[in-house]
């Protein structure tokens, strides 16, 4: 089942930060990774991706530079800042908490009153 973009929107920031924290990436690489890792259940449109990246850059969580790819073509690479790393850890913790809350709320593991 494909995930609707409304559902995932609030969590895209942390996803993008994670991928950039692994290594410097350029935009299309990011969108490829998202498709691949979600087993094509979620694809990010370039319009959305651009807005996210722009917002992260404005907040000072990532920075960009022009680099060259293996075959010599130019790409704008994004790299995570120290602030970005700290922010990523925070958001990751937040997500883990949310996940456990949602699990306890929606799954029938408790006895009903």
């Amino acid at each position: 089942m494909a995930i609707s973009s409304d559902l995932i929107r609030g969590h895209l920031e942390v996803v993008i930060l994670k991928m950039i924290s692994e290594k410097d990436r350029y935009a299309y690489d990011l969108s490829n990774q998202i498709t691949k890792r979600s087993q094509a259940q979620f694809t990010i449109k370039e319009a959305t991706l651009y807005a996210m990246v722009q917002r992260l850059e404005k907040k000072g969580l990532i920075e960009s530079y022009i680099g060259t790819k293996s075959k010599g073509s130019k790409r704008r690479y994004y790299t995570i800042t120290t602030l970005g790393k700290a922010y990523y850890q925070e958001r990751l913790k937040e997500w883990q908490e949310l996940k456990s809350v949602m699990t306890s709320l929606l799954e029938d593991t408790h006895e009903r009153d």
């Binding site: 350029y26 935009a27 299309y28 969108s31 694809t43 449109k45 370039e46 319009a47 959305t48 991706l49 651009y50 807005a51 996210m52 722009q54 917002r55 075959k71 073509s73 790409r75 704008r76």
Partner: protein, 142 residues
């Protein structure tokens, strides 16, 4: 890449060309061109790669639309302020002229009531004053 540039330009046609928007246009151009190049490297034909990139772009995202709307609002506000400034300038000059006229009549023709010109002058001063009030009000509101 000409096709990509045309596509991005068209997307931004309805919006004001502020420095921020121009930067966005440039960056989007760059980003989409990168994608087309990657697709070509993967062995997809150029025209198909461009088509695929444009189709997969989506719409100017909600998030981004908000930013553009804000910019539009700011631009509109600047215009209104400029408008009020012109009004204020016009009313001030007119007021000076009319007060001068009263003073002239007072001193030259109707001299037996003292300095009566002050009374209509105070009245007419409310014209530029109310405009000044409007301008300052607009400037302080966010």
């Amino acid at each position: 890449m000409k096709e990509i540039k045309q596509f991005v330009d068209k997307l931004f046609k309805p919006y004001q060309k502020t420095p921020e928007t121009l930067d966005t246009i440039e960056k989007l151009n760059e980003m989409l061109t990168e994608k087309v190049e990657d697709l070509i490297e993967q062995g997809i034909e150029k025209s198909e790669a461009i088509h695929k990139t444009i189709v997969e772009f989506g719409e100017l995202d909600e998030i981004y639309k908000d930013v553009l709307k804000q910019e539009k609002r700011r631009y509109k506000r600047q215009k209104t302020i400029q408008h009020y400034r012109n009004d204020l300038l016009f009313s001030s000059l007119s007021t000076l002229f009319i007060i001068g006229l009263f003073l002239f009549i007072n001193l030259q023709y109707i001299t037996n009531y003292g300095l009566w010109f002050i009374i209509p002058s105070i009245g007419i001063l409310f014209w530029p004053l109310s405009l000044l009030y409007k301008l300052l009000n607009k400037k302080t509101e966010k």
